[in-house]
């Protein structure tokens, strides 16, 4: 039983949800984006600093919090075009459950593919980042 649960909630997800490395609103940032899941009320703020460093404030489940933190780690220093590409690749991973070697730690979230209602938790930070980078309004 523990194996099953551990498969979905890999230790990386639990770790990053409990002790995020990129959490907190920075004093100075260039742009911000917001994502909200209307179904559960979970929300996330994403802040992009000069140089492409990303920070987040996630209020919600472990999937959301871990996804936000792993995203911030993955996109550091990337251009908006690269971020958009990563987002598409990530959405494919959580949509299909098939890992993508290019995405590294982000693959920890591949298991949510089995839970249609939870995919949104994983993709919400990316939608918020997309909003911050000017990809248009994102709806919960």
């Amino acid at each position: 039983m523990m194996t099953d649960t551990a498969e979905l909630y890999q230790s990386l997800i639990v770790e990053r949800s409990k002790a995020p490395r990129y959490a907190g609103r920075p004093d100075v940032f260039d742009v911000q984006g917001h994502g909200e899941n209307a179904m559960c009320g979970d929300e996330v703020q994403v802040f992009v600093q000069r140089g492409g460093e990303v920070r987040h404030e996630a209020h919600g489940c472990a999937i959301l919090a871990a996804s936000a933190d792993l995203m911030a780690q993955a996109v550091a220093g990337k251009t908006p075009a690269q971020v958009a590409e990563m987002r598409a690749a990530f959405e494919d991973v959580v949509g299909t459950g098939k890992e993508n070697p290019v995405l590294g730690d982000l693959n920890a979230l591949a298991g949510v593919a089995e839970y249609r209602s939870r995919i949104r938790c994983a993709t919400l930070p990316w939608a918020a980042l997309g909003e911050a980078l000017g990809e248009g309004q994102v709806n919960g």
């Binding site: 559960c40 009320g41 489940c61």
Partner: protein, 414 residues
Amino acid sequence: MSAVVQVPVFDLAGIRKDFPILTQQVHGKKLVFLDSAASAQKPRAVIDAMVHVMEAQYANVHRGLHWMSERTSDAYEAVRDKVAGFLNAAVREEIVFTRNATESINLVAYTYGRTVLKPGDAIVVSEMEHHANLVPWQMLRDAHGVELRIAKITDAGEIDWESLEEKFADGKVKLLAVTHMSNVLGSYTPAERLAAFAHARGAKILLDGSQAVVHRAVDVQAIDADFYVFSGHKLYGPTGIGVLYAKREILDAMPPFLGGGDMIESVSYERSTWAKPPHRFEAGTPAIIETIGLGAAIDYVQAIGFDAIAAHERALTEHGLKVLAGIEGLRVLGSAQDRGGVISFTMKDAHPHDIATLLDRQGIAVRAGQHCAEPLMGRLGVTATARASFALYTTPEEIDALGAGLLRIKQIFQ
């Protein structure tokens, strides 16, 4: 024979055999279904009754002059008698079939609300209403100029009578619309006392019985309810069939809701006249198969009996509260004196959605989220909760499985 105290007979193992779905597995684990408050599973008797209609006795109702139509009409209308008996309505014409409790409340808001209620009148609901008993009144307020007031609940999850008094103080309140059992906190509201309170102040009362009818016998005459609504699918019946009970004189004075076939007396190109209740409120071909399924569901629960069902569920609820109280960091929301088998909780270490997903991996189905009661979440100071709800087929062992599952989740997040 002298009167003897009847110990309710409750054959749990036999009852579980009546529900085919309970033998299903989820993720290779035995299904533990603790989400019956959202929608209950169906006994074989309901499934068979619906299949029988389609296989052996089906035609449209109230129309045909042929044998099939007449038999189907009889079967359909017989359910009206069953529901009238189930709620102890004075007459069968007080039972209107709808799609669900939501539609029943919308029907009242749209017809009674726009005619009997006048701009400037006020409606009171409580803080612990399902969206179904809040949003239709907000829509009525915006369309018709009535005022909507929200009466507080206590932290225990009970009606705050002081707040209720205050909402009624200026004499403008003409309708109290309130749940008979909270779908989040499991609290029963004292329906008879609320009805007497409303009536003494010149208001009618509507009770949302969606949860309550499943667990206890309801007597609308004893309550003196003006309106009482419920859905079939929570009562072990099918989806797509609900009930509106309203006192006959109230229904008589209400204009139709939807227009079409079945709800008219006569129609010309210029104008139409309305059928008498209940048909006035049942436009179009009704949910014939589902209605007959509801009839079978009512037969099913009545054969077991609400004394036995209530005793079983009381024991389950006590056990559930005890199991959950043993989990450190777990908070049960609400502590009403009179509560049923619906328990919402949060855990210090895990978000409700993580709880639900991780329990699902173990075959345990609970609900997580806002339970169609978003404002109540704010009132309780949470964004969401996990909710375990019990039914007549729930076993104490399933509640133990829930407890064990929650302890595992706690370990994962520690």
